[in-house]
């Protein structure tokens, strides 16, 4: 990682950490904000948090890997997430996932080599009334079908 990116992360981290007291119970709040900001939790950010909260890097790593929302690798430009909650499962969300795997040629949890798409699965986003659902960068698409998914993907391709 080049020095300028490193410095940028450091200055962003300063801003984020400035909002929190240096008490250990703020760790998950801070990680949530870092994840939101960078799309993953960079090692430099972990080091900054470690110093600020006086928690070992190992412990921070332990927390990051425990919670599924936190990732250690950068996400693609578009994160497409298929809900595999029960309501969606019963309504056939596996077919959506199969289609995505086929079109993006990646497994869930991975990012395409051009950095454009990340594929994720999620356990229920609470939109069960309009199952099955998938999300693109957080935007929810309800009552989804493979056809609808294809349309969304075609549109993303054009961008």
């Amino acid at each position: 990682m080049c020095e300028c990116i490193e410095n940028k992360i450091k200055s962003d981290m300063k801003e984020i950490l400035g909002k929190y007291q240096n008490s250990k119970d703020n760790l998950i709040q801070i990680l949530n904000e870092v994840q939101e900001k960078f799309g993953y939790i960079p090692l430099i950010a972990q080091k900054e948090i470690s110093q600020y909260l006086n928690i070992s890097l190992a412990e921070i790593y332990g927390v990051i890997t425990f919670y599924s929302r936190f990732t250690l690798e950068p996400k693609g430009e578009y994160t497409i997430s298929v809900c595999l909650g029960t309501a969606c499962f019963v309504k056939g969300s596996e077919k959506l996932l199969d289609r995505l795997k086929e079109r993006l040629k990646i497994e869930p949890g991975k990012t395409t080599s051009d950095g454009k798409y990340s594929l994720d699965t999620t356990r229920c986003i609470g939109a069960c009334g309009i199952a099955p659902v998938f999300t693109v960068n957080g935007e929810v698409y309800g009552k989804a079908t493979v056809k609808k998914l294809d349309e969304v993907l075609d549109n993303l391709e054009k961008n």
Partner: protein, 618 residues
């Protein structure tokens, strides 16, 4: 800062303004267009509808009409929903393009826009909300304000008796009296286990400590459940008010709400509500001028199902991996940072203010002998009216699925319903008339759970369903105790074998053994209940397991590995190798002619697939 008197003034003034929301026979010129901004409708672009309405109203200079965003109306399947008050017209599946017609025809000319009215399951055109069968058997207590008020306006909450219960508690009741009232009401924990709420408050009150905490568990992890989410999105103040009352009752000055980060709208609305409550000094120091102080902080989860378990949740609030603690000590004695802590679920809290205002006696008349009040269910899966329903305890599953839910779509048959998510069990057809209450559900091998109610039609394979739930549990096991970490994994492996047609009766025996040992040895609720989906599907659908094992057959075709093995006539050269190798002589055909597999004889051993030199079998 507002005094009791000032709050009362807001209540009276605002209530007059909002009377048309609840009083359908009111003759007034004014109209309120309510647009659902719950999760379901929001993802069907309902925010755009609000903007469009506002734009048209401004452009056309329409008087006496307001556009209000509300929480969930419940009937998510028909979303986005628009309701016009006071006449209570129910418009379904509205798009941006429909707004102009609604304004021109309905608002300006007083005519119904018939093409946008909702059709009930039997095909009748429904003009008013309460004509819908979906609402007829419901009773809204916890969801009373959802779909009625703007959740981001504290004055609207106050107008409908908001913060009146808090006033009553602080001015007229001792903490003991509050706890007594809650105990008498018979309210039990809505998170799933059904522990008596009053008793929990009593136990926490009776521990001496310099600091105590109130925690609201909004880590709604059951996949297929969105009750808590809808309450937080539609009526956040009802939870805040109840948490303050709980704080007063047990002697706590600090509260935390632990919400899933996957629920951004709920988090936002709760945050707005906290800020508004602080402005009015309903949160903060010396509430209503008394010496009681209380404040609430939001803590976000980060995607771990186990954090819905109360002690894991506490670990997570403290900033650590959400691994459950060994109980006892229970949180009532040693919870957050070792201090006595009261943990209640969102829906439990949402009942509190109604009990205080209407009295324990009123509440205890609703429901059954042992389960009082109502329960909110997230009705999903293969049912026509998916959405959020609140029914009195004791309502039967048949009433929920058929009368409220409208039955099963696509002319299929009901097969089973799952309550309690991955910790619960399935309820088959023969138990459709079981009244829904804590005890009855337990008796038939399921549980109340937090309120997820997933209906499945006869196209669903129950072995595959059990496998789905075990995949979930294995994924979400925190890894602290061996029975859960390794035991559930072994169960999943066996289920995978069975679904792949590789299972034996010996596997089934091992699976059943695990369903006995894991509940006895796992340390927390997640592990102890993980085998439930297997136990209940084995109890009611054992024949399906046996079909998978003995006949390598999945009657629904969901288990792909058990799908039919066929020979592609285009690729087959008729070499006869498959025929020679088939152990049960299921393959027939003339040399150099395409061969054929007799399904009834085939045992799906896969030998032919591996022997075929032309990859013609699959």
């Amino acid at each position: 800062m507002k005094s009791i008197k000032e709050i009362e003034e807001i209540r009276i003034k605002k209530r007059k303004e909002l009377d048309l929301r609840v009083n359908v026979n009111l003759s007034t010129k004014e109209k309120h267009i309510l647009v659902c901004q719950g999760t379901g409708c929001t993802s069907s672009k309902s925010p755009e509808i609000i903007e469009e309405f506002k734009r048209i109203i401004k452009e056309k200079n329409v008087d006496n009409v307001r556009v209000i965003k509300t929480g969930c109306f419940g009937l998510c399947a028909k979303g986005p929903i628009v309701i016009i008050r006071p006449e209570d017209t129910f418009y379904a599946m509205i798009t941006k393009e429909d707004c102009l017609e609604i304004i021109e025809k309905h608002i300006l000319n007083g005519e119904l826009v018939e093409r946008l009215l909702c059709k009930d399951v039997d095909g009748t055109l429904v003009k008013k909300l309460d004509e819908l069968n979906f609402y007829k058997k419901q009773k809204r207590i916890a969801l009373k304000n959802c779909g009625v008020i703007n959740p981001e306006d504290i004055d609207e909450y106050i107008a409908f008796d908001g913060y009146k219960a808090l006033e009553k508690v602080l001015m007229e009741m001792t903490p003991e009296e509050v706890i007594e009232e809650i105990t008498k009401s018979g309210l039990r924990g809505r998170g799933g286990a059904g522990f008596p709420t009053g008793k929990k408050w009593f136990l926490t009150r009776n521990v001496e400590a310099d600091q105590k905490y109130v925690v609201c568990n909004a880590d709604e992890g059951d996949p297929g459940a969105f009750m808590d989410r809808s309450i937080l999105e539609g009526d956040p103040h009802s939870v805040i008010e109840a948490m303050i009352i709980a704080g007063y009752s047990i002697g706590a000055t600090k509260g935390y709400i632990y919400v899933r980060a996957e629920y951004p709208i709920a988090v936002h609305r709760f945050d707005v509500a906290i800020k508004q409550a602080r402005e009015y000094n309903l949160l903060g120091k010396n509430i209503f001028g008394t010496d009681f102080s209380f404040d609430i902080e939001i803590r976000l989860g980060a995607g771990a199902f186990v954090c819905g378990e109360e002690t894991a949740l506490l670990e997570s609030i403290e900033g650590r991996r959400g691994q459950p603690r060994v109980k006892p000590p229970y949180p009532a004695n040693s919870g957050l940072w070792g201090k006595p802590t009261l943990i209640n679920n969102v829906e439990t809290f949402a009942n509190i203010t109604r009990i205080i205002l209407n009295g324990a006696e009123w509440y205890s008349k609703i429901g059954t002998e042992t389960s009082k009040g109502t329960k909110v269910f997230a009705l999903g899966g293969n049912v026509i009216n998916t959405g959020l329903v609140e029914v009195p305890m004791g309502t039967t599953l048949r009433e929920i699925v058929y009368d409220i839910g409208g039955g099963i779509p696509n002319n299929r048959d009901f097969k089973a319903a799952q309550t309690g998510g991955p910790s619960g069990g399935c309820i088959p057809k023969e138990h459709l008339d079981t009244p829904i209450d804590y005890e009855s559900l337990k008796e038939i091998g399921s549980m109340m759970g937090s309120g997820g109610l997933i209906v499945m039609d006869d196209s669903k394979c129950m072995v595959n369903l059990a496998k789905f739930y075990l995949e979930f549990t294995v994924d979400e096991s925190c890894g602290k105790c061996t029975p859960c970490r390794i035991g559930t994994k072994r169960m999943l492996e066996i289920l995978e074998k069975i679904c792949n047609g590789e299972g034996s009766l010996e596997d089934l025996r091992k699976l059943e053994e695990l369903t006995i040992t894991i509940p006895k040895t796992a340390i927390c609720g997640l592990g102890q209940t993980a085998p439930n989906p297997v136990i209940s599907t084995l109890k009611y659908f054992r024949d399906e397991y046996l079909e998978h094992i003995k006949y390598k057959k999945c009657r629904t075709g969901e288990c792909k590995a058990l799908a039919k093995i066929q020979i592609d006539p285009e690729k087959c050269r008729g070499c006869g190798i498959c025929k020679k190798n088939c152990p049960v002589n299921a393959i027939s055909g003339e040399v150099k002619m395409p061969h054929h597999i007799d399904e009834d004889i085939c045992i799906k051993c896969g030998t032919c697939i591996s022997k075929c030199p032309f990859k013609a079998i699959g």
